[in-house]
């Protein structure tokens, strides 16, 4: 007993680098503060909670600045200080920036949505849930052991279920939440089982140690380890909404409040693929012959199913705009998976991963921009059909031009130059790894995707039906649209800002 207790006691007394863990911690603390403050803030002043949350997310993002060197880690083993549970390397920082920035933009959208839907959405709970989910999502890329990874994944997911179902008495909302919850929990359970197999065969949870030991697994345990690897991936594939784990997406996006859908489409995906990257490239590099082809097939399927699904949306159906964005986000998840799959074939895996990160940054900015415009249009046209966007240029030229820009970025055609070059890096990763067939599948998908993106874009400039209704755009929405627009245009002028991640290793 005492022999066991001694190392335990030693490892409990860890020095914690508070600065390194500040970004997720600050987010979580602000979340708690908002929850408590909700009890004391009178109904008329609930809007304060929103601004506190926005400020909290901004501060958390700023807290990344002192970490820019990317050499901090904490919660390390006392015996071996190179084995840590939390690492703030460059990969972590970029994904944390993406997560916190995405959450910030989603929060800006939510401020207006909550104001418009007064008394239908409980504000304190909403902000608490959003911030806790963001905290989990920010923790995930920093996790370097399987247990922390799963905890972070659940911290990011559980509040998201509640957020999806937050509209009391709305049948669609509750149904969406239930769908999301059941499928997600199943995936997590499968993932946990996989992790237990991996633990059983290697005896460790630390990713780097897993990577070492899994190569020398006893012959008898080989199948166990292999099954473990595959099952672990399943949970993360679900989060990225990869086919066949995508079916929850359209209904969930439509059922959820629009800002939550925007949040899920960007932050939810970031959680999924960063977990996937950590598990594949850091923990199981020696099993690249297993996950490489699996992810390549998954990527091809995901983009094809997503784009065909988006193609089949009818412009006049209710909520078709959100549905289309949901399906297109499935398609985009396919592109995000391509470099991860390529990392399985390539000698320089971190470089391939960089392409995913660069693409994700581009996708986050322009997709949130598209959602912001959708939120704006949704204020006057609650059904949010694609047909409702007809003639947007006549009533709101700047917004229409920006939405056109966002959509063409997603399609990857000039004037969306950053979209084009982000696609080029993904293609380049695939070609570099010798995945010619995947590149060709992606090429066909780019053409399919262009069809629906351009159809929507063209609609913006058609003559409007009836007189164009102009209304004042609320400040938070303006801020979100401007911010994403400025980012998108700045990146189009200087793509190097995000593409540099594709050139250098992030780990």
């Amino acid at each position: 007993m005492s022999a066991l207790a001694q190392p335990v006691a030693q490892s409990v007394v860890q020095s914690i680098d508070w600065l390194a863990i500040a970004p997720p911690t600050a987010t979580a603390v602000v979340g708690l503060v908002v929850l408590v403050a909700d009890l004391f803030v009178p109904d008329a002043k609930k809007a304060v909670l929103g601004w506190v949350s926005v400020a909290g997310l901004a501060v958390s993002a700023l807290l990344l600045l002192p970490l820019l060197d990317g050499d901090r880690s904490t919660f390390c083993l006392t015996g071996d200080t190179r084995v840590c549970s939390y690492t703030a390397d460059r990969f972590t920082l970029v994904i944390q920036f993406l997560v916190l920035g995405g959450a910030l933009l989603a929060a800006l959208l939510s401020v207006t949505a909550l104001k418009d839907g007064r008394r239908r959405l409980p504000e304190g709970e909403f902000w608490f849930l959003l911030l806790s989910s963001a905290a989990g999502a920010a923790l995930l890329p920093a996790s370097r052991d399987l247990a922390t990874l799963i905890v972070a994944l659940e911290v990011a997911s559980l509040p998201a279920f509640a957020l999806v179902g937050i509209r009391h008495g709305d049948r669609r909302s509750s149904e969406a939440a239930l769908k999301f919850f059941l499928s997600s929990v199943t995936a997590t359970a499968v993932s946990l089982m996989g992790i237990s197999f991996v633990y059983a065969s290697t005896g460790t949870l630390y990713l780097t140690q897993v990577a070492d030991r899994i190569q020398h697994v006893d012959g008898q345990l080989h199948t166990l380890a292999q099954t473990g690897v595959v099952l672990t991936l399943v949970g993360f594939a679900f989060k990225t909404a990869a086919v066949p784990f995508h079916f929850w997406v359209p209904d969930t996006y439509v059922g959820a409040p629009l800002p939550v859908a925007a949040y899920l489409s960007v932050v939810g995906k970031a959680v999924g693929f960063s977990g996937l990257i950590l598990v594949t490239v850091v923990a199981f590099p020696s099993y690249s012959d297993v996950w490489g082809p699996a992810l390549a097939a998954l990527a091809a399927l995901t983009m094809t199913v997503g784009n065909v699904g988006a193609l089949r949306q009818q412009a006049t159906r209710a909520y078709s705009a959100v549905r289309l964005l949901a399906w297109s986000s499935v398609g985009q998840a396919g592109y995000l998976l391509v470099p991860i799959a390529a990392a399985g074939y390539s000698k320089d895996a971190p470089k391939a991963i960089g392409s995913t990160v660069a693409y994700a940054l581009m996708y986050a900015a322009v997709n949130l921009g598209a959602f912001a415009v959708a939120a704006l249009v949704g204020r006057t046209k609650t059904l949010n059909r694609i047909a409702d966007y007809r003639g947007l240029y006549a009533s709101n030229p700047l917004t229409a031009l920006l939405l056109a820009f966002f959509l063409l970025c997603l399609a990857g055609l000039p004037p969306g130059i950053i979209g084009l070059f982000a696609k080029v890096t993904v293609f380049s990763a695939a070609v570099d790894a010798g995945l010619g067939w995947l590149a060709v599948v992606m090429a066909v998908n780019v053409v399919i995707a262009l069809f629906y993106y351009l159809q929507w874009t063209a609609l913006l400039f058609r003559a409007p039906e009836g007189a164009p209704a102009t209304h004042r755009v609320p400040a938070p929405l303006t801020a979100a649209i401007t911010l994403t627009g400025v980012i998108g245009i700045a990146l189009s002028g200087a793509p190097q800002l995000v593409l540099r991640f594709a050139a250098t290793g992030l780990f």
């Binding site: 055609l413 000039p414 084009l420 293609f427 070609v431 351009l454 063209a458």
Partner: protein, 524 residues
């Protein structure tokens, strides 16, 4: 010809590429005080004319300052790093191959803007029209000026959206379908092309066209070259267009507004053939050699197919559309260009480049004329125009009829006009192809292509007979003859067609040294 400071040349080339883009943005903004004109429409159309005019002047000054003694040397070069991560450099430059295309583009766009100023296109606001026209110009000029593979791809893609909207918003019947067909075909081709470009860039370690041309494929294995040429070739062949990938072209031309057709035929198609000469020939010669006979075969089929399609359209009772007919004739003409390139000889490639320019001038003129005809008669349907005996344009509008006959005769390749030399040289090239290519095969191609010229003559003469000749009915309304602004827009094309026909050296002297150098691997 005249000595211009190198940094001025650099600035001019950069201005030619970026200027139209800035002009496009400016077109969307409200006109500044003092430039408001009679109405916002008039102001923005005038902005289009001044902007394209400025670009044309810059392009002409570039041509004058170009060192004509060393046309094979890249001149007015700029080389700035843009995206180090992807190794993309803003590398601009012109040599004897790109200079004529650059000037042709600037000229045609200016003439289109001028024509639209007096004859605004029917459709929504001209504001967007001018902006799109300028964006299109920027994309095409960039295609001919950039020397980086990825930048070339960017420029190649840049024309898609403007052209799509030009067809879809200002086009005629069936425009939506035609616009979709145009953009989906070209995009599919260009994405496949991107894969080939990436393959070359990754295997050779650079995306720089000059470096790659100098390397002449030495750092690429034959299998890489074969795959790359196949992928890039498909993309360029869709754009050119090569039979059987041409099917978007007739629809796009038929539906596009006059100005759109002129630019599509005059400039956009050249981007494809330019890519063949600038990228495939020097960068992956081994791969190109593998496919050269197939390319030539497809080209020859295209010549015959285009001519036969035109003959069928020109027949009485076929309800042939004149614009469609010219579009099919483009397939045939571009067949000659591709045949010339496929020979891999200086003669053939020079012929191809010459035919390129000639086709731009003549077909541009033809589309202008047919557009004018449509404005006057309201139709481009040959049967409706010609009725029983013929449309008798000579009688109703003699100048217009004369110009149409001139353009048709130039298009069929009458010696002394621009159409002659290019096709002639392409056939010469096929008579004596590069050493490693099968001579008998190319002799056969040459024979078939020569037969194609006969068919071309046949259908163009039928068109002239049915449109220009015929009996003038007594009470027939006279058609308005050529207006002054139409003269202004068409005279440069007519003049250049004659000049290029009588003095081919002006053009060949520019292209030949550059072609020799490209084929020899950039070192000569």
């Amino acid at each position: 010809m005249i000595d211009i400071n190198e940094s001025v040349m650099q600035f001019l080339l950069a201005f030619v590429v970026v200027g139209p883009l800035l002009g496009a943005v400016a077109a969307l903004l409200p006109a500044p005080p003092g430039l408001k004109g009679k109405s916002p429409e008039q102001a923005v159309l005038r902005h289009g004319v001044t902007m394209t005019g400025a670009i044309l002047v810059a392009a002409i000054v570039l041509a004058l300052g170009f060192d004509h003694d060393h046309p094979s040397k890249m001149q007015a070069t700029t080389d700035i790093s843009w995206i180090p991560a992807l190794d993309v450099r803003i590398h601009l430059g012109i040599d004897g191959i790109s200079l004529p295309l650059l000037v042709l583009t600037a000229l045609l766009t200016f003439l289109c803007a001028l024509y639209s100023y007096f004859k605004p296109p029917a459709g929504p606001t001209p504001k967007a029209f001018v902006a799109l026209l300028l964006a299109l110009e920027s994309g095409t000029l960039a295609t001919f000026a950039v020397l980086d593979l990825l930048l070339f791809f960017l420029a190649f893609e840049m024309v898609l959206i403007p052209m799509y909207f030009l067809i879809a918003r200002w086009g005629g019947a069936g425009r939506t379908q035609a616009a979709w067909k145009f953009i989906l075909f070209t995009l599919l081709g260009s994405v496949v092309m991107l894969l080939g470009l990436l393959l070359i860039g990754i295997k050779a370690g650079t995306f720089d066209m000059v470096a790659l041309a100098t390397d002449n494929g030495r750092s690429l294995t034959t299998s890489v070259q074969v795959i790359a040429v196949l992928a890039i070739g498909i993309g360029l062949a869709v754009k050119t267009p090569m039979w059987p990938l041409h099917s978007w072209l007739p629809d796009a031309h038929t539906a596009a507004p006059t100005v759109g057709s002129v630019l599509l035929a005059g400039v956009l198609l050249k981007m494809g053939t330019y890519g063949f000469v600038r990228i495939l020939l020097p960068v992956a010669p081994d791969g190109f050699r593998t496919f050269a006979p197939y390319l030539a075969a497809f080209a020859v089929v295209g010549i015959i197919y285009g001519s036969l399609a035109c003959l069928a359209l020109a027949k009485q009772g076929a309800k042939g559309d004149l614009k469609r007919l010219i579009a099919y004739s483009s397939v045939g003409h571009m067949g000659f260009v591709l045949l010339g390139i496929a020979t891999m000889t200086p003669t053939g490639v020079n012929g191809a480049l010459f035919a390129n320019i000639a086709h731009g001038l003549i077909t541009g003129l033809l589309f202008f004329l047919v557009g004018a005809l449509k404005d006057r008669t309201g139709t481009t349907d040959l049967d409706a125009l010609a009725e029983e005996t013929g449309a008798a344009l000579y009688g109703k509008a003699p100048r217009l009829g004369g110009l149409l006959a001139f353009a048709a005769v130039a298009s069929l390749g009458l010696p002394g006009l621009a159409g002659f030399w290019g096709e002639m040289l392409a056939l010469f090239g096929a008579f004596d192809p590069a050493n490693d290519l099968s001579r008998p095969a190319f002799l056969t191609f040459m024979a078939i292509a020569a037969f194609g010229t006969l068919l071309t003559t046949a259908y163009l003469l039928i068109v002239v007979r049915r449109v220009c000749m015929g009996a003038v009915p007594q009470q027939a309304p006279r058609l308005a003859d050529v207006h002054t602004y139409e003269f202004a827009a068409w005279t440069p094309l007519v003049a250049l067609t004659v000049v290029a026909g009588l003095w081919p050296r002006a053009l060949l002297g520019l292209t030949d040294p550059a072609v020799q150098q490209l084929l020899a691997g950039g070192t000569r």
